[in-house]
């Protein structure tokens, strides 16, 4: 289900934005407009839809309009034109009171510099959203405590923001956004001000929280690695425009233009590319009932030194090598089950390359990709892992 949808959103900064909007629609460039009219283009014709429970990352360098875009979603910045639907309600048509209700109930926001209230204790900060709504003190403190527990800050209720480290302060910011139990979380460079290590922790924690809560999250970042790590889908922005929307792998494998290509070339693919995109289809398998002679013939046909053995339901049983099978035949036996080596590495299709590499260290066999029922989906050779890391033209075939 679509939770939030943005259609043809524009934000133009200046005194006569609507006049400039026409120029922009007629195809004038951002630079020309700035030169002729002194108007800045914040967001230009942005459209996207975010599914419920999805983490949608908007990525771009500074000045790309991503912060303006996220502020248009709850109208902290008024869009010049275009519509924003939340639960099929057009936010841009809300009056002040309706807008406040939407901000209070539906949208939580986390800020880059935390934006905690320095004169209030942690508990009072987290309860702020509820206080604004007029929730009584006992109930809001109870909810604040629950929220603090979620982010792992139990016991800090009475501390002041200045007594906490940056990472902890941002946990408070997150707890504050969660306390009102909104459906949508807007996170504006939420982790950008944190140290790399703390940042990684927070990313992991956000993903862990998200698996429990299933919020719809719009996450702004300028860090591609962060975007690729936490985003279900990523929108890449440049000069106020969205240049590509896609899953992390789509963006890595099929960059929409040179800008994106240049952007993603330095990406650490080990953390992004998954087993499913580098695995090879398995052409040759042997059923366990087939027997040694058939196994040998199959291996010779396909020029292989070993072959995977499956049972009737095509579930993986193990692997046999050509040497062992020949021995078996010499001994005048035919039942493969004696020589099946079940000590092979299996992974599910969404495992990252980074986690697959170590599996090759103690195994001479390829890694098998299996689904939940242990049916073989494909196999990965050492070579394909290397190709995946280098970003070579390793396409699914």
């Amino acid at each position: 289900m679509i939770k939030l949808e943005v259609k043809n959103l524009y934000k133009i900064f200046g005194s006569t934005p609507h006049k400039v909007l026409e120029m922009l629609k007629k195809g004038k460039s951002k630079k020309e407009i700035l030169k002729e009219t002194d108007h800045g283009i914040g967001v230009s014709n942005a459209s996207f839809a975010v599914e419920e429970g999805e983490i949608f990352v908007v990525m771009g360098l500074s000045g790309s309009g991503k912060s303006t875009l996220i502020r248009c979603l709850n109208r902290l910045i008024e869009p010049t034109s275009g519509v924003v639907y939340i639960d099929n309600e057009d936010i841009t048509k809300c009056d002040k009171a309706q807008l406040r209700e939407v901000r209070r109930k539906k949208i939580g926001m986390v800020f880059q510099n935390f934006a905690l209230l320095p004169h209030r204790s942690i508990e009072e900060n987290v309860a702020f959203g509820l206080e604004i709504q007029g929730v009584g003190i006992d109930e809001r403190n109870k909810k604040a405590l629950e929220s603090l527990e979620l982010v792992g800050l139990k016991g800090y209720e009475k501390s002041m923001p200045s007594e906490l480290s940056g990472g902890m302060q941002q946990r408070v910011g997150l707890a504050r956004a969660l306390a009102t139990n909104p459906d949508i979380l807007l996170m504006d460079e939420a982790f950008s001000a944190l140290d790399p290590l703390i940042r990684k922790d927070m990313q992991d924690e956000l993903l862990a929280l998200q698996s429990k809560m299933q919020k719809t999250i719009i996450f702004i970042t300028h860090d591609l690695d962060e975007a690729l790590k936490i985003g279900d889908r990523i929108a890449i922005m440049k000069d106020g425009e969205i240049v590509q929307i896609g899953s992390p792998e789509e963006i890595l494998k099929h960059p929409a233009n040179d800008y994106v290509k240049e952007f993603v070339q330095d990406v650490n693919r080990v953390k992004v590319v998954t087993a499913s995109s580098i695995m090879k289809k398995v052409d040759t398998i042997v059923y366990s009932k087939d027997g040694a002679r058939i196994a040998v013939r199959r291996m010779k046909e396909a020029n292989l030194s070993s072959v995977f053995v499956v049972d009737k339901q095509r579930k993986l049983k193990g692997i046999v090598t050509i040497e062992d099978t020949m021995e078996l035949i010499k001994a005048n036996k035919d039942d493969l089950s004696e020589i099946i080596d079940s000590d092979i590495n299996e992974v599910s299709p969404d495992v990252l390359i980074g986690d697959i590499i170590p599996l090759f260290i103690n195994s001479r066999y390829p890694v098998v990709v299996v689904d939940e029922e242990r049916k073989i989906l494909g196999i990965i050779f050492k070579v394909s892992v290397l190709a995946g890391i280098m970003g070579g033209g390793e396409e699914d075939d």
Binding site: R103, R104, L117, H119, I132, L186
Partner: protein, 280 residues
């Protein structure tokens, strides 16, 4: 060069006001007089010992041990030079002037922080109020309110109000924009924003303004003795006019002691308390 009869017009205007708005000024005079008398009655009728204890306790809990000790010795000194009553009279005048300056100045400052236009209009007016030599206020004040403590209080209010207006506005404008944005994002109404975010965060600056307003009223109260507001200013004035250096010095010293106590106490309000000793 033509001599512009500016002074003449001011005179005419003031004349017109006194003739036509007599009732209005009468009402104001009565109100201010009642407030001053009320404070004076309270301050003077409380026995010295009890007042001393109250001041010491207040100083201790706001500014700490050192200020409390200083306040006790200061008050004893004033008592011993027989100026306690005069000091209380001056204190009543300062209290009244500060109170009225606050009542007018705080809302005005808040309004100025929210309206750039009002800010533009008010800034030269505040400059005028603050830099116009204080004596100049005395003349129209006498015109409107006769002699006595009331014109003194009015002149004091005009002279002492700018800091509280300015610093209230400044304090609210200086609240970090990200905090403002955050409270907007959570759906705060303008009123909630003002009382839950802006004023609490601007409080140290507003209190600095209050401190300055009190100090300015104290300095003006002495000058306004020239139009008969009484109190310590009177003592100093008599010292000057009769060439009694000793009396003048004693009166001046009492003013200084009162100023120091008020300054330390008001400066410490809202700061973290440090009861073990003086401030670090």
């Amino acid at each position: 060069m033509i001599r512009l009869p500016l002074g003449f017009y001011v005179e005419k205007g003031v004349d017109w006001l006194t003739n036509n708005l007599d009732g209005f000024f009468g009402g104001i005079k009565y109100a201010i007089e009642s407030i001053i008398n009320g404070f004076e009655f309270v301050y003077v009728s409380v026995p010295f010992v009890i007042m001393l204890i109250l001041i010491a306790v207040l100083a201790y809990f706001t500014a700490g041990k050192r200020t409390a000790i200083f306040a006790v010795f200061g008050c004893l000194l004033i008592k011993s030079i027989e100026l306690w009553q005069m000091t209380m009279k001056t204190f009543a005048l300062v209290t009244t002037a500060t109170l009225i300056a606050l009542i007018i100045g705080l809302p005005l400052g808040i309004w100025m922080s929210r309206s750039d236009r009002l800010n533009k209009v008010m800034r030269p007016i505040l400059d005028f109020m603050q830099t116009m030599p204080a004596f100049v206020y005395l003349i129209p004040a006498v015109y409107f309110f006769d002699l006595g403590p009331v014109p003194g209080a009015v002149a004091t209010i005009i002279f002492a109000m700018p800091p509280i207006v300015r610093l209230t506005s400044l304090g609210i404008r200086q609240v970090p924009s990200d905090v403002i944005e955050a409270s907007r994002a959570f759906g705060a109404t303008p009123k909630q924003m003002l009382f839950k975010v802006q004023i609490p965060l601007a409080m140290p600056t507003i209190l600095a303004g209050l401190n300055q307003t009190i100090m300015l009223s104290l300095s003006m109260v002495v000058i306004s003795a020239m139009i008969g507001s009484g109190g310590l200013g009177d003592v100093v004035l008599k010292g000057i006019s009769q060439m009694k250096i000793g009396d003048g010095f004693e009166g001046g010293l009492a003013v200084v002691i009162l100023a120091m106590i008020l300054d330390r106490v008001t400066q410490s309000i809202g700061k973290p308390k440090n009861l073990s000793g003086g401030r670090k």
